[in-house]
Symmetry: C2
Subunit: 211 residues, 2 copies
């Protein structure tokens, strides 16, 4: 995390932190990344500007951490709803059935990407990342690449089990089922359904050519 100083753990500062995250996500959704300012976030959160500058050095840091926090809360809520340990929700399940495990996670991703609380700030952050290299690099490093590495780890386990060819580069292989979902969401080139991601997994594992 890119905090300047670790916040103390009192309930009061935790409450301020939550208010700041909520204000940051609301503003980026409503007025976009470029118009959101530290001053605006402070005013909406009902805290002084100095409270924000004590913990973060730029609006980019506040927004990225607010977004990471939202992702963690979403994941924890999804894990609770599914009755699994939140710690396990950070991994892709390995039941021994690679196709089923990938479909399970990609279906959950479809549901998350359709969640309005998540969609507006995520779109605003992704749009800014397209035209702002600094935002893009932090976003990839902190958010996107760690997510992709979970798929790479699952494909490596599948290679050890003989379910994926040994000559496949897992970091590229995962893109065959993750990137189509990403492009449809980013560019609106098609519907996102459970049936669609199931088809992607089948095509990616078995290829398009006759066997």
């Amino acid at each position: 995390m890119a905090t300047k100083t670790a916040p103390d753990s009192s309930r009061r500062s935790e409450r301020s932190r939550r208010a700041i995250y909520d204000a940051a996500l609301a503003l980026i959704s409503e007025i976009g990344y470029s118009k959101t300012t530290i001053e605006g976030i402070a005013a909406r959160a009902g805290v002084g500007k100095q409270t924000i500058y004590r913990w973060w050095s730029s609006k980019g840091e506040v927004l990225l951490e607010a977004f990471l926090d939202l992702g963690e809360r979403n994941a924890a809520a999804a894990a609770e709803a599914a009755g699994v340990d939140p710690a396990d929700a950070r991994h892709i399940p390995d039941t021994g059935d690679l196709a089923a495990d990938l479909k399970y996670v990609l279906r959950a991703t479809v549901d998350e990407l359709s969640d309005p609380a998540f969609e507006a700030p995520y779109r605003a952050l992704a749009a800014e990342g397209m035209v702002n290299r600094e935002v893009s690099e932090r976003y990839v490093e902190k958010l996107l690449e760690p997510g992709l590495q979970l798929y790479a780890a699952r494909l490596r386990a599948a290679q050890e089990a003989g379910d994926v060819r040994a000559d496949v580069d897992p970091r590229i292989g995962l893109e065959l089922f993750v990137s189509p979902l990403a492009q449809r969401w980013l560019q609106g080139t098609g519907e996102l359904t459970h049936a669609y991601v199931d088809t992607l997994v089948d095509y990616a594992l078995n290829g398009l050519s006759p066997r």
Copy 2:
């Protein structure tokens, strides 16, 4: 095309049209979609606002057509450089070798996406499409989907030739090699090289599982 009235074909109006397209692309690259205005485009192009309103009814239409025109000029230049008829450059070649044909087109796409003249306006348009549904819908209809349909047509021809399984949906199958490239370019999640797109085509056609 979404022009209000067909422009006359005099050299003078063709020159104005080119100046307007150039001004629109320069402004969207420099200051972004939301700050670009019809007034700003007119001032930069050295034409009156009414000249623009005679041909287009909104800045969205000017920008989309400027971008489509840029794409056509790029394609024509690439065809000339490759010594092929520009009309043929609108199709994906069918030499009978599906993998080679796809690699040829995707390598050219990598080169185009790395061209600075193309990159800045394309990024600005894609970023706006992420947060503006009207822009997104027009962009998909006029630009993205027609491009994707070229791949779908090539996959259908490959199905007839027995090189792609008959049960594959070409519109989804094409995303296995097109979308990874798109996501890397949109989100900066990895390098774009000829070797990378070659690998995508091989994985997509043959799958990740052992044969």
